[in-house]
Symmetry: C2
Subunit: 138 residues, 2 copies
Amino acid sequence: MPDRTDRVAQQLWGFVYDYDAAYERAARAVGLSTAQACLLKAVADGPRTMGEIATELLCDASNVTQVVTRLEARGLVTRQPGRADRRSREVAITAAGAELDRSARQAFRFPRERIGRLSADDQQTLSTLLETLAAPDS
Amino acid sequence: MPDRTDRVAQQLWGFVYDYDAAYERAARAVGLSTAQACLLKAVADGPRTMGEIATELLCDASNVTQVVTRLEARGLVTRQPGRADRRSREVAITAAGAELDRSARQAFRFPRERIGRLSADDQQTLSTLLETLAAPDS
DNA sequence: TATTGTTATACTCTATAACTATA
DNA sequence: TATAGTTATAGAGTATAACAATA
């Protein structure tokens, strides 16, 4: 592997490090852990079942149960039996949850600030590169 | 904020999401948590004090104490009183720790695989963009 | 008196295994 | 019998406050 690739990999590590740290701070700033903020984001566009959330968040269903329980206790989400399959549960965001989700997104200024440093052309170039970089494995 | 910026921000979120997941899997694959892998990496280039590690890892010193205690119990790092200031402790990586650190880096193929998709020219372009994106705030 | 690190404690995240309810 | 979710439990990460040792 060439030196060049290594150098870019190192730059990328540093950038992701800062990105993650900024997200963590944004979540904290509005009183959420990163796991809670991610779950809220996962149900922001509409109700999801526990299983769908577990898949989205790449974690175990029992984990989702616990995080949802805490968010529910704070009135940020609700948990209702599914209509079709009554074994499942639909997790829906509440008005308060949606408000907090918006606050968290606003507090996470990092991506907009960093991307905003680039010219329109450079943003387009980055977007094109990311299309290649982000494409799934196989 | 223009649509374009939003779109790039969304692509970036997805990429960082996959990056973090891949790092977590690589660490697990060699029997480490991400926190442990990061600490090992932090002392891979030479001994560091608890305080230095806490600063590097953006966490509390009491946290470092606990992670180091676990790594020390597994023989991956040692903890010695500092020579100059005897209040401080020098955390040094052991041969076994260095070996595991190397394994973890190797298992983390994600960045090399993704960057390797780009031509040499595109890698250079990405590197230049990252220079701007990664520069500190002020 | 100030600083470095540890201890005690508490909360959250996370997974595994056993369980309940429904299909 | 299989699946969706929960409960019980346990280990790890994380921070705050009180503390010990050293400066």
